[in-house]
Amino acid sequence: MMGVRTSIAVLAAIVLVVACNGSPSKSSCTSSQQCQAGEVCGGEQNGPYHCLASCPDGRICSEGFVCQSVASADCPTCRVETLACVSAK
């Protein structure tokens, strides 16, 4: 039983580490001003929008994420490039 609890704790810790390792915060937003520094509010053109880690100049994203052009909630239809880390799926 103790071994199972330990495994769960380790797994939880790993999940926490992965989740906190620079991945997008995924909080919903309508403007980048609602996001933290280094994040942009982006997503598909018709939403939903989340705070995503910005990756200008193709900066490397966390594991499981790729740097991709997204629609910015600041101007969803503008054809200006906004690069953010999104799930690689």
């Binding site: 309508t30 403007s31 980048s32 001003q33 520094a37 509010c41 982006g42 997503g43 598909e44 053109q45 018709n46 939403g47 929008y49 200008p56 991709q68 052009s69 997204v70 629609a71 910015s72 909630a73 600041d74 101007c75 969803p76 239809t77 503008c78 054809r79 200006v80 490039e81 906004t82 999104v86």
Partner: protein
């Protein structure tokens, strides 16, 4: 401040001065880089709420500024709370020196935390060491500085460097403030802060002098000379005249003069330099580099064929100058130079922060060796000389044909190996078959570069040869160029002169033609047929003209905001749509998301939030040459003199967000206001299946229904005589695909031009990453990458996307109409000229229409005859 420049001419060969002058400041012996670094010395993070005032370590400043540093940890009650600030203010010595303001741009801050060893800083030891070193080694100051324990304020070794982009203005009544809240990179005490500044300008007695001593933006100076030599009765040769120095960014300099002369003169960038150089009519034999050129004391008669002559007198070359001249090879020439006396000049010697421009960073004199092509000759044979005869002559003498026009017997011949051009000329001169012969030369590009400090050179607009077009026209007020976008900076100095004014909404006092009745509206002071902000803010208006403006509540300066405030009367005076309830007081444009007459944007300066500010700037930011100071703001657009109609249609997601229907209506409004071209740097992509992340994907069976109805909507969108220029999607998607609908790119309308981004936009163009393509859907390309675009009172660097390609085409259409007004109202002809004058890059053939078109603005503008379809 001292400027050294040279004028050379050798025989009839014009010399071209390349990279004429790099302005480089020498603030002190410590500063060696192209940035000025202010150093706030030895600051520990203060505890509690207090600031510490320190003096700027800025050696040999002509004035002093005072800093107060309040770091985040000590400024809990800051504004906003938690922020830290760097305060700057001029101190009293500046006042005495006549300085009234200081502007500069902070580009980075270096923080030395207390766990790193600071670079050496021992002023006493430094001075002593330098003194000893110079005594020992002469004036090899550079070596001494390196060897001595002198502080280099630009040394960031061990520091945490934080890039910034902050412009600061400091005057005697206010304090510049730099927010340091985001600067600190980690917890810990900071023992030193170094601030890196660029683009320094000062205001002296009310005159702003943008004598930027740094690399950017002034890279060269164009010298126009009216010097003519004159020999007087005493056989003295006089060189003199007015040398107008015009800073031009990155432009090669071609100087024509009748005699070679080097001039060393104090330099005031705002003043013509009038220099009269009296040379004794004597010459000297070369007796060593320094002896002759530096001192010029050995005179033995004037030699008009001398290679060059050096000016000396009071402004003799110092050792460093001489060293540089030697590096350039100038002193290798046989030198005949007389003692030169520079008469008193009217230019005031300007000590700007003790930046000295001297020949340590001199002109790079390079003869334009490429101007004459010495491997070929142009020969025109007499009419009647047959092709067979010509071929026989050519073959018998070792020439080969490079190109020819048989109708006119015009041949371009390659010279036999080892044959000098002069010999070839003599040969063909002696042939009875020759009508004339002459060397071939390269045609120098006629280009104009703006002085705007943030204009990118090289950059996207230089790649598409906007400077070439500007040699022909920089625009006119005739075309209305509309920009439908997220919001605009209606207070932008770059834009105000070019913003549209709807005369239909103006009071009759301004639009009537009564005083005098001359065929122009009374407030059309420049009589170009339109009332513009250029009219309302024109300098030197008569009392009657100013009274006319005052009669409707306008006083200079007139901005869009003051115009709206003074002239909004609540009545739809022009009522162009026969509905008096719509577009009331649309004096300067319209806001479709708030349905009012103020298209001002949200005021946030990012690539996305200031999107409309950026695109409108590319279309029609005012440009200028001359200065400094440059009279036209921060950047230069394609069309420097247009009437830009700002139409706001967009906001943040869910907040006044644009829709396709409001976009449709905005386009219709632009058409009805008579726009020659309409910019659309936006759109929406629908994908039947999956697509890129920013599109609307997986709409399945709905796609086909939507597709057909969108085309109906597009067909309904009457564009009249307007051209809609549309930026394609920022996705790696094929817009030609039947499963993708990039709206409005794919609308079937002959008045639509579509764009995508390449980098660079020249013969080596490559489609930029994540940009839509499709030769059937995309008409033309331009460089949309890494633009430094206008924001709200600032510029924003590194903005990329197809958004920044369409405005280049819109601006091009403006220039085309300015150069050929007959094209206005003829969208088919305009589109034809834009497309057929493009550069064709075969590598883009599968991505961009016409076999891979890349915008070429100059050809589009100057080729008034258009192209054969």
């Amino acid at each position: 401040m001292r400027l050294t420049f040279f004028i050379l001419e050798h025989g009839s060969l014009k010399w071209q001065i390349k990279s004429l002058l790099t302005w480089e400041g020498i603030m002190s012996e410590h500063v060696r880089r192209m940035v000025a670094c202010l150093r706030v010395s030895r600051l520990a993070v203060p505890h509690g709420r207090r600031t510490r005032r320190v003096s700027v370590f800025w050696q040999r400043l002509a004035f002093a500024a005072t800093f107060a540093l309040c770091l985040p940890s000590s400024c809990g009650g800051g504004d906003p709370p938690g922020d830290g600030f760097l305060f700057l203010s001029l101190d009293r010595t500046a006042t005495r020196a006549g300085y009234t303001a200081l502007d500069f741009r902070v580009t980075q801050v270096a923080l030395f935390y207390d766990d790193v060893t600071l670079p050496p800083d021992d002023p006493v030891a430094c001075r002593q060491c330098l003194h000893d070193c110079k005594h020992k080694h002469g004036s090899k100051q550079v070596q001494c500085t390196r060897a001595c324990p002198c502080l280099n304020p630009c040394d960031t070794s061990g520091a945490a460097v934080v890039p910034l982009e902050v412009g600061l203005h400091v005057d005697l009544t206010a304090t510049g403030r730099l927010n340091l809240a985001s600067v600190a990179t980690r917890p810990g005490k900071i023992q030193e802060v170094r601030v890196f500044v660029e683009d320094v300008s000062v205001t002296v007695d009310g005159t702003t002098i943008t004598a930027n001593p740094f690399e950017h933006p002034l890279k060269s100076i164009q010298v126009e000379s009216s010097c003519k030599p004159r020999v007087d009765a005493q056989h003295k040769v006089h060189f003199g005249g007015v040398l107008r120095l015009v800073p031009v960014q990155g432009q090669d300099i071609v100087i024509q003069s009748d005699r070679q002369v080097a001039v060393v003169s104090p330099f005031d960038p705002n003043t013509d330099i009038k220099t009269l150089i009296d040379k004794q009519v004597k010459s000297c034999h070369f007796k060593g580099k320094k002896t002759c050129c530096k001192h010029g004391n050995d005179h033995a008669g004037y030699d008009p064929d001398s290679e060059w002559q050096a000016a000396a007198g009071d402004d003799q070359f110092d050792d460093e100058q001489t060293r540089r001249l030697e590096e350039l090879g100038l002193l290798e020439h046989r030198c005949t130079g007389g003692k030169t006396s520079l008469p008193p000049h009217h230019c005031q010697q300007l000590h700007l922060l003790l930046f000295q421009l001297k020949s340590k960073y001199p002109l790079s004199l390079v003869p334009d060796e490429d101007a004459v092509l010495d491997d070929r000759i142009v020969v025109a044979f007499k009419s009647g000389v047959t092709r067979a005869q010509i071929q026989a002559i050519i073959a018998a003498n070792g020439y080969s044909v490079i190109a020819y026009d048989e109708t006119t017997n015009y041949y371009v011949l390659r010279l036999p190996t080892g044959t000098a051009l002069q010999s070839a000329i003599q040969f063909f001169d002696g042939l009875s078959e020759t009508a004339f012969d002459l060397p071939d030369t390269k045609v120098l590009m006629r280009q104009v570069f703006p002085c705007d400090p943030e204009f990118q050179n090289p950059g996207p607009l230089t790649e598409v040869n906007a400077p070439g077009a500007w040699a022909t026209t920089t625009g006119s007020t005739h075309p209305v160029l509309a920009d439908i976008d997220q919001g605009f900076d209606m207070n932008s100095a770059d834009m105000i002169p070019n913003y549209f004014i709807n005369a239909g909404e103006l009071p009759a006092a301004l639009t009537q033609d009564t005083a005098p009745a001359d065929g122009f509206m009374d407030a059309d002071f420049d009589q170009d047929g339109f009332i513009t902000f250029r009219d309302l803010n024109a300098p030197g208006l008569t009392a009657a003209q100013l009274a006319l403006l005052a009669s409707v509540g306008l006083t200079q300066p007139v901005s869009p905001a003051t115009l709206l405030a003074a002239l909004s009367d609540g009545v739809d005076n022009d009522d162009f749509d026969s509905d008096p309830a719509t577009f009331v007081d649309d004096l300067i444009g319209w806001d479709f998301v708030q349905n009012d007459n103020d298209p001002t944007g949200p005021g946030i300066s990012t690539c996305t939030s200031a999107h409309g500010v950026g695109t409108s700037g590319i279309i029609a930011a005012v440009g200028a040459t001359g200065g400094p100071p440059c009279a036209s703001g921060l950047v230069a657009g394609v069309d420097w003199t247009a009437r830009l109609l700002p139409i706001r249609n967009g906001g943040a997601f869910g907040v006044n967000q644009s829709t396709r229907s409001t976009s449709y209506l905005a386009i219709r409004y632009a058409v009805q206001m008579g726009s020659a071209a309409i910019n659309a740097s936006w759109g929406v992509t629908y994908n039947k299946g999956g697509g890129c992340g920013r599109a609307i994907n997986n709409i399945g069976n709905k796609f086909d229904q939507l597709n057909s109805r969108l085309q109906q909507e597009g067909a309904r969108l009457g564009l009249g005589n307007s051209i809609l220029v549309v930026a394609a999607e920022n996705c790696n998607q094929n817009d030609d695909s039947a499963d993708t609908f990039d709206w409005p790119v794919e609308l079937n309308n002959p008045n639509i031009v579509t764009t995508t981004s390449v980098s660079p936009a020249n013969a080596g163009a490559v489609l930029a990453a994540n940009r839509a393509y499709g030769p059937a859907s995309i008409d033309i390309s331009a460089n949309g990458e890494n633009h430094t675009m206008l924001g709200y009172g600032v510029t924003i660097a590194g903005c990329s996307g197809n958004s920044f390609t369409a405005p280049q085409v819109v601006g091009t259409i403006g220039l085309m109409i300015a150069n050929n007004p007959a094209l206005e109202g003829n969208p088919a002809a305009l589109i034809n000229r834009v497309l057929c004058n493009a550069i064709i890059v075969p590598a883009l053939a599968g991505q961009v229409g016409g076999g891979g078109r890349v915008l070429e603005i100059n050809q589009s503008v100057v080729n008034t005859n258009g192209c054969v379809p």
